[in-house]
C-alpha cells in the first residue's frame, strides 16, 4: 500500500462527500458510500493507470457505489434520510449550543414521573402546557397524540409532508417537556 497514494485519496474525500450528498440527500449514507469508495480505490490501486486524473477515476467508482446505495434504499425506504428534515431544523431556537451541539439546558431527572399520572393537578398543568403551544403545532400534536391519527392520515388531512410533521411534533414535544419540567417536575438536577 502506497502511502503517497493513500494521502492523495484522502485529499479527495471532501469533494466526494459533496457529490455523494447531492445525489443521496443523506449525510450518514454519503459518509458510508465515500468510505466504501476510498477503500475500493485503495485495493484497486493496481488498476489505476494514471491515464485520467485521480479525481476522475474516484468519481467513476463513487458513481457505482451511489447507484448501489440508491437501489438498496428503494428496498428499505424507512432507513432513508433525515437529511431533509435536518435542513428544516437548523433554526431550532436555542435548544442546543451551536458551537458543539450540547444541550443549552439539559433535562433534569424526573424520578418516577408515572406517580404524577394519579394527580388531577398534573393534568391541569398538562392542559396549561398544551395551551401554550402555538395553535398550528397544538393541532398537529393533538391529532397525533389524542386523536391517535397515523402520520400519513395527518399529512393528507393537513397537506403537509412527513418531514414537516416530524419537525412540528418534535417542536411540540420539546416545548411540552420544558413546560412540564418548569411547572411540575421542578427541575431537580441529579449529578451529571
Amino acid at each position: 500500500m502506497n502511502a503517497e497514494f493513500l494521502k492523495e485519496l484522502e485529499t479527495q474525500r471532501g469533494y466526494l462527500m459533496r457529490v455523494a450528498r447531492l445525489q443521496l440527500r443523506d449525510t450518514a449514507l454519503a459518509e458510508d458510500v465515500v468510505q466504501d469508495t476510498l477503500t475500493a480505490a485503495l485495493t484497486a490501486q493496481g488498476g489505476f493507470t494514471g491515464k485520467s486524473s485521480v479525481k476522475t477515476w474516484l468519481t467513476g467508482i463513487l458513481k457505482h457505489k451511489i447507484v448501489d446505495a440508491i437501489r438498496r434504499k428503494q428496498r428499505d425506504p424507512i432507513s432513508a434520510s433525515t437529511f431533509d428534515e435536518e435542513c428544516d431544523i437548523e433554526d431550532l431556537d436555542g435548544l442546543f449550543k451551536t458551537s458543539n451541539g450540547a444541550w443549552e439546558s439539559p433535562p433534569s431527572e424526573w424520578g418516577d414521573p408515572e406517580q404524577s399520572l394519579q394527580r388531577s393537578e398534573f393534568f391541569d398543568v398538562m392542559n396549561l402546557c398544551l395551551e401554550r403551544l402555538p395553535p398550528a403545532t397544538a393541532r398537529v400534536f393533538i391529532m397525533r397524540e389524542v386523536m391517535e391519527l397515523e402520520s400519513d392520515e395527518i399529512c393528507q388531512e393537513l397537506k403537509i409532508t412527513t418531514n414537516n410533521l416530524w419537525v412540528i411534533l418534535y417542536r411540540a414535544r420539546m416545548s411540552l417537556r420544558e413546560c412540564l419540567e418548569k411547572n411540575w417536575f421542578g427541575g431537580k438536577e441529579a449529578a451529571t
Binding site: A28, D76, I78, S79, A80, T82, E85, E86, I89, L92, L95, F96, N100, G101, A102, W103, P106, P107, S108, E109, W110, P113, E114, S116, L117, F122, F123, M126, R144, E145, V146, E148, S151, L165, W166, L169, Y170, R173, M174, L176, R177, L180, T192
Partner: protein, 69 residues
C-alpha cells in the same frame, strides 16, 4: 482525561444531541432504520441528558394516553 474527551468527541461526530433527540421523537411515529437505531443506541448509552429525554418522551406519550381519558 484526554482519552475520554477524545472518545466523546469522536462519538459526537457519529451523532450529536440535536440529531439524537430528533430520532427519539421520530421513533414515536415510525421505527428507525438499522443505522439510525444503532447510532442512537450508542449515543443514549453515554449521554445522560439524551437518555433522560428518551425516558421523558416515553412518559409524555403515556401521559397523553391518560389525558385522552
Amino acid at each position: 482525561m484526554d482519552i475520554k474527551r477524545n472518545i466523546r468527541r469522536a462519538l459526537g461526530h457519529l451523532i450529536d444531541c440535536p440529531r439524537a433527540t430528533r430520532l427519539v421523537s421520530q421513533m414515536q411515529e415510525r421505527p428507525l432504520g438499522f443505522r439510525d437505531r444503532q447510532l442512537l443506541k450508542l449515543h443514549l448509552a453515554w449521554c445522560v441528558a439524551c437518555a433522560r429525554f428518551d425516558r421523558q418522551m416515553h412518559f409524555l406519550r403515556e401521559a397523553m394516553g391518560k389525558y385522552r381519558q
